[in-house]
Every structure is written in structure tokens, then in C-alpha cells.
Amino acid sequence: MSSFGFGLITAAVLAIATVGFTMQFAVTNVLNLAYGSVMINSAYVTYYFNQRGASIWIALFAGVACGSIVSWLLNRFIYTPFQRRNLIPITLVIVSLGVDLCGTFGLQGIVGGSYVSYTMSQGHEFHILGMLLSGVQLIIFAICAGVLILIHWLLKYTRMGKAMRATSANPNLARNSGVKTKFIISMTWIISGALCGLAGTVFAMNSGVFEATSAELYIVLLLAAMFLGGPGEPYGAMLGALVIGLATEISAAYITADYKEVIAFLVLLGMLAFRPYGLFGSEKTL
């Protein structure tokens, strides 16, 4: 039962990350494989302020800001210029891999290869429905849930959210209908970048110790969750993250922790092979 609890926390963190990732894909059609490196860089920015005495909950905002700014810069100065050249889509994926290498190993060059962890108290332990969870885990869960509700509100009830959805469905039509798509795309990268920064920090908190390459495998979970729910679908991403998060933690408990990502790999490959547009989508989404 406690693996279910861990699964819920993992799923909540994954949901934040996947929603950001899938939003980037939705409005710009870029599979930003450098996402994991932005996450871990943000986690380190949080670490930097945390080390200098800031409470983790304050330093967290620095991480969020880092994710936001770096993502915006990436889109503005790398992805958008490449896209304007009308290259084949795979070029952008290769570029994002190049960015990922620079981000991850640039960070490793700066901070070295050793593991670090945040200075924070784990809080009281709580027994909830037979699950043993630490105070920090509960806070992480609450933050993630709150942010997801905020995203839901943004997408459903604000003009900005409607414009985002319109841009993702059909950028040309949206532009012709008076949506300032350029601005909307920038905003999407800023918001999704904030999610990325937040996800990086809470991911680092949740794993306890981390180093520059810790998020390397995380992109696989992200992709699995995204493809499960349908690429570019924020609600699908939340659901996909729930399934993948639970599945990895439960399989870690019942099979072996060495293979805990395997289930995510298999889900991802299965989705790509049979339903690349997600469980509920249909082919026009692509």
C-alpha cells in the first residue's frame, strides 16, 4: 500500500512535468528532448539558493524562474529560428538533443559529478489510508495538485487558455482569427518552463539525492506519459502521468527496483507502435 502512496507522489511530479512538456509540443510541435536537462538545471538553481540559507520553499521559486526563463530563451533563440527555416521536423529533435547535451554536461562541468541534496526537514510522518507518507511528500503532492488545478483553470476559463488551445489546434486559423500566436507561443513556453522548473525541483526533493545526470531517464517517463494520454493533450498528460507514476512505483515494489522504468518503456513502445495519437485521441491530432 505504501508503494501506492509513493506512486501517487511520483505521478503528481510526473504530471507537472508532462503537462509542461506536452504544452510545448502542442503549440510549437517540438519534441523538446532537452526538457530533462532544464529540469535538473532548475533543481540546481534551487539548490544554490537553498545552500545559501534560503528555505527550500523560497528557493523553489528561483528554480521555477530558472525553468521559465531558460525555456523561453530556448524557444526564442534556438527552436523558433530553426523552425523558421522550414527544416524537416527531425532536425529540431536533433537540435534539442544537442541542447540536452550542452545543458546536462555543462551543468556537470560546473557542479562536478557528486551527489547533493537539499537542506530541509522531512517533516512528520503521516499514516493516511494505510500509506506512510512524510510531510514533505504531502506538501509536494499538495503543490502539484494545486498547480494542476491552476492549469486546468488557465486552459478552460481564461482567454489566454482558449488562445493556447486554438493555437495548438490550428496555428494558421488561430492567427487569422485574431489570436496573437507569437505572443501565445512565448507565454506557453514561459508557463510550461515554470512547470518544468517546478517539476525539476520537486523531482530532486522527492529523490532525496541528485546529480547533474539524474534526470536522464526521466524523459522516458515523460514521453510514456505523454503518448499514453495523446501528444499535445494536457489532460491526457495528467492521466498518463497517473498511470505511469503508479505503474513504475508498484512494479518497483512487487518486481524489482532495477526494472522499475521498464514498464514505462514498454508502455511507450506499445503506444508508438499501435496508438501514437494516445489512448483516446484519433489520428487527426497529429
Binding site: L87, F105, G109, Y259, K284
Partner: protein
Amino acid sequence: MWFYLTTIMVYGAVDALACLGLNMEFGVAGISNFGYIIFQAAGAYTAAILSMPHAATSNGGFQQYVLGWNLTWPLPWIGAAIVGGLLALPFVFLVGKRLRGDFAAVGLLVSAVLLNLLVKNYIPFLNGDAGISIVPAPLQSIFDPQGIGYQLAYGAVAIVLAVLVYFFLRRITESPFGRSLRAMRDNDVVADSLGKNLRGQRTSVLVLGGMIAGLSGAVLVGFISLWAPGAWGYAETIVLFAAIIIGGAGNHKGAVLGAILVPLGFEEITRFLPAFGPPSLVPALEWVAIGLLIILFLWFRPNGILPERRRVLSTVVGRTPVEVVASSDDDDSVNIGAIDEFNFRAVLPTTSVVNDHHPILSTELLTKSFNGVTVVSDVSITIEQGRLTGMIGPNGAGKSTTLAMLAGTLSPSSGTIMFEGNDITHVPSYKRAQMGIVRTFQLASEFKKLTVLENLVCAIPRQSGDSFWGSVRGRRFWGADDKANIERAEEILEGFGLSQYADAYAGGLSGGQRRLVEIMRALLAEPKVLLLDEPMAGVHANLARKIGNHLTKLCEGGMTIVMVEHELAITDEFCDPVIVLAEGRVLAQGTMAELRANSEVVEAYLVG
């Protein structure tokens, strides 16, 4: 010194082999195999365990692995190539026709990570994270492995292998099959619509690339005598991609140059750098450099140091090829006069067809919906042989979708399609093209990095060199056939007044010229039924009329044409009958005169 030199020889040959194989997949055929490194790993492991004694008897059993057949050279290497090739087969489902290229690439990347994870954690298979060591020296039956002679011989064998592979790949790339691969790279949907079997082509390239990668792994493991998961992390594939992008994708010489500059160069440069910083710093900076090089090259020199060269096919000697710079959409450069005298039938098969206007292609209750939105519903139409049928309707009426379903580009949600009495609803589009249903596209669909002439020749069916084995048999086998095909294409090019562009890249033509290339290409595919999606869009009005006249002549000669067209003047003049679609349904059909009398049609479409 000698030892150092031979090491470089072997590493250089291994990297060259790996880059050549990947270049065949990525640079020539357009398959972004982000999991390429697993093929090299499979080859290395296979060569190792085939040449090693059984695990229980070797070295007191300190390592675990399967097989252990104790085979002598070259059997382990052959086995490595075979396993590398076989490993490609499970991935065919990812690179098959339907998946977006970048999604397939992600699938392959993830597979590489997954396999690495599994091999690392499951020790009985290939000794887990520690890897396999003390792999016997392959040539020890011939040379004493301790001597310098052995080192030199090994280097020589490796280089000879790389050279042989280079020439073999060049033979395939420069053949008609290679042309089809490059067409698929430039635009796979269009290649499919011209009768190229994408799955088949990709399978053969993946197997071939896998075999070469496997071989490179075998050569490497025979030299360094150990192999572990750390040597084949997924990021190693990115290094090879960087090599190809820097050297020049699509050019095998570029691949070799990239291999020398990137994997080998990086390895050797760091060897001579003075040690600085903490131990992880230099490798980290290496990765940063590779990432930066990828981005910078893709931006400043996307075709690499040695770009793919333009293939000059035209047989006319002394013609100065026109370099086309992307020009505006005008057709001034098209010699319209020439089309008048040109007889299209000259380039078509001479089988005499009697026009009997029998129903050749028909649909019954054809329906297509996307995400629950029905775009085409219950369309039942019959196309008669030898007629130029027009298809009109307002935007979003489902004209292009219907056309796409007839050609097989889209599969219908329900309903049936019959062609000459056979149900072809589930026949894939490349087979329909081979049966004689050929389409053109509304959007520009030329193969950009093929010349105009290559674009045309590539569409001709039944070329003797347009298969893997045909290409292996070499120019002596397909040369004469190809020459005839090129002449045929030149003839039609002359007829359209575009001869001066024969050897220019099709991507550089103006919009109108590209339309013409597309029509010519479709005609060369020998269609019985030609499906044209707004062929006159962007074409000069005078030229459009002339093309229309010739389409009529083609129909008189036995061809059946369906044309989606916006310009009513065109349909008025040339099309009979005309089908009117509105909101996904057939509103009416008949001659234009009949349609003008139909008030419903006039209201829906013809007004204004």
C-alpha cells in the same frame, strides 16, 4: 609508436564503418535511427560470445554469458553482422509507413536506453554492468597476437573492410534504388503515392545498416577485447549523428570524414590535452562540445563539410545546368509554346486502349471522420473510364479527402472502393499506384534534394535497378534500362519546356514549375487513373488551358482523370462529368450545363 598508429587505424575504421551504416540510414534513406548504437553493441557482444569458450569453462567462470561457441575467425564477425541485421527487424514496426519520423526516432532512442538498462541489470545474459572481458584475439590463428605484425594486420583488415563497405554502399546509393531511397527521405508520403514500398525500403536499409554496425562492433571488440554497457550508452548514437551532420549527411565521403573528425578526433585530442580540473570535467566538456557542434553546424552549415553532391543525369552534352535560386511564382521561364506541339502519348505506354467508358473506379458509402467530425459521409460515386471527371465544391467539402481515400493516402472510416471490379479498400497506396491509380498533391510535393530529372525518372515503374538486389547487381545490370528511362523523362521535360532545369534541384523551382514537374512525374508513373488535386493552382492561366487541352487528349487516348479544381472556368471547359461535393456529401453530378440548371448546386457553390 607503431602501436599507437595501429590503434588509430582500427578505431578510425570502426568509426568509419559505424558512420557509413548510419549515413545510409539517416543521410540517404531519411531514417533517424536514434538507437543505432545498439546495433553496434549487438555485433560486439555476438562476436565476443561466439569466439569465447563456454562460460562455465572459461577462466574459472568469473563471468556469465550465453552461447560461448568457441568459433574461429571470421565466423564470429559474420555472426555479428547477421545479428546486427536481424536486430533491425523488430524495429520495422516503428519506422513503417504510418509513424511520424520524429516519433519513430524517439521510439528507437527509448529502445536503446531500455536495452542498455536490461543488459546492465540482468547478469546471466551478458555479464551485466561489468561486461564481457578477455575476448580472444580474432586473428590469433594466423598471427602471434603479441607481435606488432598482428597489430598491423588487424588495422589493415579493419581498413579493408571499411573500404569495401564504402564502395558497396556507394553502389547502392547511386542506383535507381538509391534514388528511391532519397525520394523517400525527401517526402515519404509522395514516394508512397508513386508506388514505392516504404516499409520494404526502410526494412532493407535498417537491416543493411544494422549489419554494418554489427560488423563495426565485432572489429572493435576483437581489438579491445572487452565490451560493457558503459561503452554503448544511448548518447553514443548522438556522437555518430554529430559526425554525419558535420561530415555531410547523404555523402558517404562526408560520413568517413565525420568519423575521423568527431569520434576519433575527440578521442585523440583529449589524449594529448594536459589534465586539468576534476576528473569528470574533460568528458563533460567533450559532451558540451558535441552538443554545440551539432547546433552550430545545423545552423551555419546544415549540409556539412562535404555536402551531398547533385547528380547530373541529363544525356544532353554541353548543356550548362541552370542553377535555380528560389524564384517568385511566375511561369515566364516556362516555354509555353513548346507544349502545343508536344504529343503526350509519346511518353505513355503504347498499349492501345479503346474508350468504352465502363465504370473503372467507384466508391460505395465512403465515409471518413477525424476525432468524431465527419469530413466525408456516404459518398458513392462512379468514375467512368476515359473521361475527365471534375470534382468541385466549396472549401471543406471533402474533395481532397475523397481523392486521398481513392489513392489510399487516407483509409476510409467505412465504405468500399472498387477498381476494375476488385475491392481495393484495404490495398495500401503504393500498391494502388502500381495498379495504376496515381495521385498528385495540393501542396508542393517535389523531392527537394533530387534534381528535376531525378524526380521524374524516379516515378517510372518497373525499373530493373529499383530494388535492393537489383542495385547490388550494379550498373551493368540496370544501366541500359536507366538510360532509356532518363531519355523518356527528358522527352517529356522538353515537351513541357523545362529542359534547362533538368539538372537543377526541384526544390529551387518556382511554384508553377513545381506543379508541372509534379504532373509530369505522375504521368511517368503510367497511371490508368490519374487523380489530380488542384493541378492548376499557381499555374499561369494560359498554361493551365494548354494543360487542360492535353489532359483531354490523354483521356481520348484511354486515360481516366479525376481532377479536383477550384477554377470553374477550367471545369467548365474540360470536365465532363462534374461531381459537386458539399459538406462531405455528393450534392449533384452531371455536365456543367446540367449543374447550372440545378438550383441547389447554384446556391451551394456556383453563386459568386
